[in-house]
Symmetry: C3
């Protein structure tokens, strides 16, 4: 990117009356320089089969260009027109819940050739029409694409072919997946039953992997079409999203972001998060770190909240804080979903920058300050580069497998809870992270790896991790890591499988903790925090040092958390789900052990620090105050300039930071 | 009505052995003078297609007549026979949950012509047979009729035709309903998708309106058939019911009572309510006020509870209190569902006046006192007329629209909660109310209108309400009123739409209150009651006086509740969901402001007062003690006679009222 | 049985690598002398339609025999192969939830002739092949058989024929089932609607009875096939299970164990139960008492837990305690599900005796001590006989009927809660019980009957119970007993129906208790325990003595619990759901009244006593310590020998018993 983008999703088609000129003027007043259009309105652009009407696209492009605004054009394929479903009802995905119904978006079978035929046609028509327009800087393919649980007979057939190609013989499948169990053995490919009813977690996890591959393939196919048209100065991106728990919570179960992003020029993401008193910045940082890691470079925040819901409407200062937080993680664009609040239909209360009355409001007024600062500071802030020492290893496969094998029947905790439990503490102690996945080949770029619940993994991956430690790295593992192979088959060796070598512990039993604490409160967290829940492995150290034993009449002889020197490195093993407070202390201990404790760790949440090198090669220090209180801190780095106030910052100087405030210092 | 009716539903067909003579004798002993029959037993009366057997009807009519009892005959169309479903499975309604199954009542598609053919035939056969019988005083069509979510392909087709007729063009539909959103645009009538899957709240709300019209039409059709037969001294009525939350809670979502009641001679209703320690009389009053308002005159309580469930079995005195409460709201009939408790099937534990053993029991003994008093006092009590000053404006359309757009994702509160929140406080301060609906033309009959959450309304309605204030009326609005037009499209003007003129406030933002109170406890309700939940609009007064500001770090500059002088009248606007205690004070304030605070307001719940003019033109004052404690009060009105005890009541006299007791004074 | 069996379920087919010799050696080391095989792996034994491969059966039989181990062979019919479902999808049961999907076990229609054809063929092939093998001591038919809610059109047709045969005419059905209600009347057999949608509790309960008969018939059919082959020294058994609430909680709703067990040589059961701090032994005792009562003799525990789930992994000592507790109830076999933990699929975390690593672990080591003691003490412990004085009358029919007619709409309590409420207290006061059912003819073998909620019963049964009291027996009834006849039609007589004669009370009203206690705390349980919930009948004594009145403003004149002398016996009637503490005192009082209070009642839970006569005619006294604490007790019986320690036990001697410990004394 040459400059920071500040954008909104814009739906001229939804407008209750013609406002294009007025809207553009208000956008320009707010410093907005890019809009995203067209991704939701196939039925407007192709009102009948083969009849095209791009007039609203044309008119928006013209008006935007005239005003010096840029446009990202989306392919409108994630929401299908009524005529298509009436003509070809089989474009609707059949899911485990049954046949689909028209109404919502994202209801089609992304493998259906009828759908693909129409999708390809509208993509070609649209992109061909706009490709030469000077306002168009890039494209988005589809939107928040997933597989929508498509699993009808045709998808089942694709899956059987996939299995045949991957495993060659049914003997191999039966063996690796343990299909003799409950008479699930398949002795002829013709007998392969629909996976929808399966109770076999290995098969279910393989199907989840196959479904993620469908998404990767679908997106790559769209990109290949767009690439036939796009200019060399244009980009194509996707709008990825995260596990949704009412907000962007964790790793996306239905898409492998690392794989799917390969086809794209740049990674785009949705980031939605709690706000008001619950605003912490964690999701901004988490989503940004994932997005940046997919391609190892800057990314675009394609959608984030403006006013949104009643419980998200930002307090004064929060919209600003959020915008600069995105930049501090490496975003080159911050765009709101959406410009105006919608007057009908479904997302009427997911409010945009403007309320339904289109008038300036407090949130819009705050956006104006952001736009103005983005414009002024763009040369300093754009294309920020990171050089993180810590990476978190995440695994879609482990996520799916743990969905099949819950920690226990009462707990709602799942893979992402463990990921977030660790990520959140690193965030709060101002340790910046990248993400890696099992296919990543850059483990050695890091001094420390965080490995939450790597439940399913091939031998090779675990051996690479052993080698990482041997060569001087530090790994922090949690429970369940190494337990099963790549087919979610439990290893028959000592647990934790293979990594027991680097960790210096083993176990063969695990229990549910009830009234279990850690003996003698080794992390000094006090009785209310010295707790363990949901899962505990009964660890016996071989070579490891015990950091904590369980406190329990019968399980007290077993270790809970251990640390092991292996070669030149160290492996920490957390055999249970400890309290958040214990997790914090274990990570703090490991960070110190790995010599990663620095000057920035002297501050902690709610004071958040992000750093990077800007395109002039200068070090930037972002300070954020994620609280309602005024704070001050001593600036410890080399002398520089605070960019927002355009004032000097001396080493050792005490700086004030407003409630929900931002300070950005560029070293001289 | 010439006299008060005291009745029961009677099912000779269900009896385990022949008890007709015995039952009639026991009824007569209890003063019961009318029974309702035949509405549930189609399969008994038409055991096979075209084979009719009305012998149980004949024998009950004969026996009743002989004993001087009257009979209401119901058309048995709400529960269909097995043979019909076996011969024509398509009579079962297809709903969003899929095809229907035989078993329960109210499972058919009320638009299905096969069903309608058979229904018409049995109605004609039955009514023709009984019409000349001297015992028959009237008819009930069907029972608790609703649309049962019927939404199969034929209903969808009717809906498309309805839309075409109403909106003429798809361009109009697309625009008004915002169908460009998520590619829902319909460009050809043939493409109109089933509404079952829609995510468009405007379309969903229109479908709800259409479904209510189906009920109105179906009932009017039944009435037109019955009217061909009925004698001039006979009436035809329907048994309407209310939103069911385990009891009769609020406005019926699936029927427009105002519209549907037009075809009938008299309105009948079901009223079921909590009992024992939870008996308040509110549902009796609420249901009665709605029923009386539909046709502006007296109504029949077709069903109410006798022993009913284990948590409803009345304490001594309660059955009596309930019966007279019905009369005090304008009922001319009180009838129990049902005479005897049922020995099999489904409602075995919904007990009647008699237990399963058919013997006299405490509840039956109490009924005897009621029957005796009804008989004796009928000339004084029947045909009570009201002259209320306050009306509540209710809107089925707003109810449906708020079902689509909940206050927030966590709250279970809906439209009727707001209606009841206001109604309950008026009840408790002894302000008697009527109900009006958007089609009512008699707003001017009232001095005060209560307008809860009028979320969807055409401009004209809001302008009429402005005019009502201008001309000297007082309106109390809550939040969300005026927000959307008649197509549930959010207004693009200042909110609250149009009524901001009379209310003198505007807002463009609304948030979820967390730890929000009203500044300085303006209504003196104490810290535990000075709360706001679920919804708050950030109000800015233009001309209004602020009654309460929010107390909150960031939203404290906005008003919560305002009052505005407009023309000769006043408009109160409540921008949030306050505690019940605050609502009480706001309404009390408004009532006083409107000069409606009178002598009856000096007493309050649990002492409830109802008034009216009897057919002799005399003023009746009912006093009810809805509590377990003895109370006394000073009688403030003109001298009269206490009817139950036949004693004098002097102005200023102190009168005692028993726990769960009743006092009825007729002014001389 | 000649000796105690100590066993495991063994799945050679599931093994990740060949371990047969190693496993057998480890089993022998642990004293395991029997394995159960083959019941889950049809698809391995018949990989294609008509192609058989019993090699894994052969090889296991050979190896076991060589090692002197015995084998129980299961018919593999409860989990069907993929080829069958692909060839004949109609073998899957259609249930009220719709058509079935392949994947899990127990998904077929057990009346489907295609399934039955294939089942018969594999049974004949398998049993014929193994019948002469010296290792084979017996057979299991199917596994945990139930009807799986099968209710498709063919099952409906069978039901109609069953109804025709049982009731002859529809007039009878309509009358007895009350089908006039809601127009459910059936006037032609062709019109009989699917029971799936019925709202008639009488019909629903009859269908449940019919479904249980399907299970009885299916199992008897399997047994008849196996019996054609089995040697005279071999047995055939079924593995029955209980109402599952995450463990074996109560009477099985879907099988009549008394009826279904008749076809078998011996009764086998699954017993799974809470463990760790929640281990009480109640389910071991309950399941054992039911199993023993079905055929009035010893039974086999075919499956119980080894390590199982994380919340069940036994504390040291618990596995031993459990094993001897099974024997003390009359088990001749204790077998674990299962030998090794499974590496794939569904029950991966339902761990066996071995963990996934197959290595000796603490639980395995404890099993070794059990195996060794079983071997040594078998002559003393096998074939223990009981001579209990108390029996509990349980009724599948009442269970089903109460599922139709819940105590109230908010309570989740059902029939088995009442059964367990009473059973648990008897267990804790060391009163050993048998179970009887309505068809049992041996009531007179007991001095006391416990009759929980006998909601549906024919006149004859209630008259037999009256006679039991008349002749000197003691019965403790709860509320709802006698309320309906055998068609779940409420009796029209005084309640409790028919038994009011022996109980000397009547009632016609019942209410939900709110803040109700028993007047003056008659059982001295303290205010926190002196409570009544969910259900209370308003009892009026005729001849009964009142043990407790309700404490309530309005219901205080009614009795809650009564006792009546009738003939030579006594009937206690509990008209409400009291607290567990009150139930304990009522039962204690009744036991004393019945002269059943003995020396063993001086000890109570956590010290549990079980007794019986061994095959040498000697009296055995088992003492169990179901607690974490060391206890001691005075041995009160005749002098004997403690078998585990091989030491003398003198009358009056003080004996210590370890936490989770066992003491077994054989009188000399």
């Amino acid at each position: 990117m040459k400059k920071l983008l500040y954008g909104v999703a814009y739906y001229d088609e939804y407008m209750p009356y013609d406002r294009l000129e007025t809207d553009i003027q208000m956008m320009k007043d707010a410093g907005i320089n890019v809009v995203r259009i067209a991704e939701s309105t196939w039925s407007t652009h192709e009102p009948q089969n083969g009849v095209f009407d791009f007039s609203s696209v044309d008119r928006v492009l013209e008006a935007m260009n005239k005003a010096g605004m840029k446009v990202i054009v989306g392919t409108p394929t994630y929401a299908i027109p009524t005529w298509m479903v009436k003509e070809h009802p089989d474009v609707l995905a059949i899911t485990p819940r049954g046949p689909g119904k028209y109404g919502a978006r994202q209801i089609m079978d992304i493998t259906n050739p009828t759908y693909l035929f129409y999708a390809e046609r509208i993509i070609r028509k649209l992109i061909d029409r706009v490709k030469n327009h000077p306002a168009v800087i890039g494209y988005q393919t589809d939107n928040e694409t997933k597989h929508y649980d498509t699993s009808g007979p045709n998808v089942q057939l694709l899956f059987v072919k996939y299995m045949k190609k991957k495993f060659k013989t049914l003997d191999a499948v039966n063996k690796k997946f343990g299909l003799d169990y409950w008479s699930n053995r398949i002795n002829s490919w013709e007998d392969f039953p629909s996976v929808v009813g399966t109770i076999n977690g290995s098969l279910g996890s393989e199907f989840a992997r196959f479904q993620r591959q469908l998404v990767t393939d679908f997106l790559a196919w769209q990109v290949s079409i767009v690439n036939e048209y796009k200019r060399s100065d244009q980009f194509v991106m996707q709008n990825f999203d995260f596990e949704w728990r009412g907000y962007s919570f964790g790793i996306q179960p239905r898409v492998n972001h690392f794989e799917a992003s390969k086809a794209f020029d740049v990674t785009g993401v949705d980031i939605y998060h709690p706000s008001q008193d619950d605003l912490t910045g964690i999701e901004i940082s988490f989503g940004g770190d994932v997005a940046r890691s997919t391609k190892g470079t800057n990314y675009l925040v394609v959608e984030t909240e403006a006013q949104a819901f009643t419980n998200w409407t930002p307090y004064p200062g929060q919209l600003r804080l959020q915008a600069f937080s995105h930049l501090a993680s490496g975003a080159n664009m911050v765009a709101y979903w959406h410009w105006h609040s919608i007057h009908n239909s479904f997302e009427t209360y997911w409010k945009g920058l403007l309320s339904h009355d289109f008038e300036p409001n407090p949130v819009y007024h705050e956006a104006k300050t952001i736009g103005s600062d983005f414009e002024r500071l763009s040369p300093h802030l754009v294309n920020l580069k990171k050089n993180n020492k810590v990476a978190i290893l995440v695994s879609n496969e482990s996520l799916s497998a743990i969905d099949w094998f819950k920690f226990n029947s009462k707990s709602s905790k799942s893979y992402n809870d463990i990921v977030r439990m660790m990520y959140d503490e690193l965030y709060k102690m101002n340790i910046e992270c990248d993400f890696v996945n099992p296919a990543s080949e850059n483990f050695e770029d890091y001094q420390m790896l965080i490995v939450p619940a790597l439940y399913t993994a091939p031998d090779g991956l675990l051996e690479r991790l052993n080698e990482f430690v041997l060569n001087g790295g530090h790994i922090v593992y949690t429970f369940k890591s190494g337990f099963t192979d790549e087919h979610v088959k439990v290893r028959t060796t000592h647990q934790p499988g293979i990594i027991n070598q680097a960790c210096g512990v083993y176990y063969s039993m695990f229990v549910e903790p009830k009234n279990v604490s850690l003996k003698d409160d080794p992390f000094q967290v006090g009785p209310e925090n010295n707790t363990v829940d949901t899962w505990m492995e009964l660890l016996t150290p071989t070579t490891a040092e015990v950091l904590a034993y369980y406190d329990h009449t019968h399980w007290g002889k077993y270790a809970a958390i251990t640390e092991n020197r292996y070669g030149k490195g160290t492996a920490t093993y957390i055999g249970c789900i400890p309290s958040q407070a214990i997790m914090k202390e274990v990570l703090r201990h490991a960070v110190k052990k790995a010599n990663l404790w620095g000057i920035n760790q002297e501050l902690s949440f709610p004071l958040i620090i992000k750093e990077g090198i800007n395109q002039d090669g200068k070090l930037l220090h972002y300070y954020f105050n994620y609280s309602e209180d005024q704070h001050s801190f001593t600036y410890p780095h080399q002398q520089g300039r605070e960019l927002l106030t355009e004032s000097k910052a001396e080493t050792g100087q005490t700086l004030d930071i407003e409630p929900w405030g931002v300070v950005i210092i560029e070293e001289s």
